[in-house]
Symmetry: C2
Subunit: 253 residues, 2 copies
């Protein structure tokens, strides 16, 4: 059972979270890391079309083969498969992200976009995120949960065209009540811009905002996280709202 495991992230190859994920991944097979050379948070499913990509060997993982890439997380997945490994890995792991990627944040998340790209390539793929932005966050509980989930996914596979979005609350393992398989909550950012003047008197705008959970359902990832569960959302890339097709047939007239 010597699996080929691709590890990537969006916080960059220098982040603590990816080192912690590699430590877990090594228990399951041969690990290759291909991760962004610079932080790529919020890059969503961006790819680099108008510029070439660069890759460089990276020796920060001791005995693990690793490459830093100039592109986005999705670029890392593509170049890993088609240029570095020259094959699909048996499993793709993304993270551990410094910060939560629950609810609609999945759309902005480079961590999860890498996992979604894996699913598009029919690779069992899992994104892991810890609800702690600290660069030196404690990943022990997330590693424990990641170990459990990777083990089960290797044994059972994943449903077709579906990856997993795993989020872990900022708690020690003994305070985490368990793992819940959930729906993506419908929450949103109440955006604001911090607008200031630069040294030349020209305005600039910096995105900020507060997060609002409007979802009343009790089967969501946000609900479970608030109740001290780690969460797993089966995430796919078919964005069709099938229920709406019939209602919109009037557009055909």
């Amino acid at each position: 059972m010597n699996k080929l495991i691709l590890v990537t992230n969006d916080d960059s190859i220098h982040a603590k979270g990816i080192k912690e994920l590699v430590a877990v991944a090594k228990l399951f097979g041969q690990v290759v890391v291909v991760a962004p050379e610079k932080p790529q948070s919020g890059m969503g499913h961006a790819i680099t079309i108008s510029n070439p990509l660069r890759i460089q060997k990276y020796d920060g993982f001791n005995d693990v083969e690793a490459y830093e890439c100039s592109g986005t997380p999705v670029d890392c997945v593509k170049i890993a498969i088609f240029e570095i490994l020259k094959r699909k890995p048996d499993i793709l792991l993304s993270g551990i992200n410094h910060g939560e990627n629950s609810s609609t944040n999945v759309l902005y998340s480079g961590t999860m976009s890498a996992a979604i790209e894996g699913a598009m390539e029919s690779i069992p793929s899992i994104g892991f995120s810890l609800a702690d932005f600290d660069a030196d966050a404690n990943f022990e509980a997330t590693k424990n949960i990641a170990h459990q989930i990777i083990d089960k996914v290797i044994q059972n596979g994943l449903p077709e065209n579906t990856c997993l979005n795993v989020n872990v609350p900022k708690l020690s393992m003994k305070d985490i009540k368990g793992i819940k398989v959930c729906a993506q909550a419908h929450a949103y950012w109440d955006d604001k811009f911090d607008s200031r003047l630069d040294q030349f008197g020209r305005p600039y705008y910096w995105l900020t905002g507060d997060f609002s959970d409007m979802d009343q359902r009790e089967n969501t990832d946000l609900f479970a996280l608030k109740n001290n569960f780690a969460t797993v959302v089966p995430t796919h890339f078919d964005l069709t709202n099938y229920n709406a097709i019939e209602n919109l047939k009037y557009l055909e007239k």
Copy 2:
């Protein structure tokens, strides 16, 4: 019925496609354009977190208020709502994209990510794309179809949390058989990298590839486009694969 209409795109404020869309939008109300200063194709749902944004008045639309923004298409939507308009527009139009955004391309598309961001803000939002990458493409048929669809959407609204992904084949209006409301096809890019050496002998990698349609269904956008229909896919931002939740409950044990 003087609607406030926000127009954006991903090919940049200088593209022909957005000028053509503004010409249609003006027939329905007061238009404000907020679009990227540079091309942002393939940016997906990326947002700018680690840098500030700049906006600048742009006078290329004659009597239409317009701003170019240093950020991504999703940044344009956010800064338009929260900093420029200081309110939500009544409708958001994105495009007309130079090139198709059918099937899974919706995930990479800046055009569609702007529309999805609009849907997240509960704004009736539509992304338009023409299957022609030419900078001087002929947008006449797309404008005709956009007019029909915008008219109906203003009258009827859109289902909750759902925007429209409209794609138009590269045909004259008389050869387009009609409009079909469809599902997003499951197709994928068979990626390749064009690998060369630069002037210093260092390798660089440029993303390329062929598009493969594996979907056997006849209700998809790709199927309809191949049969000379314009397509509308109701697109939402809930990526949960609900059918998989029950199957994955074993992860809770």
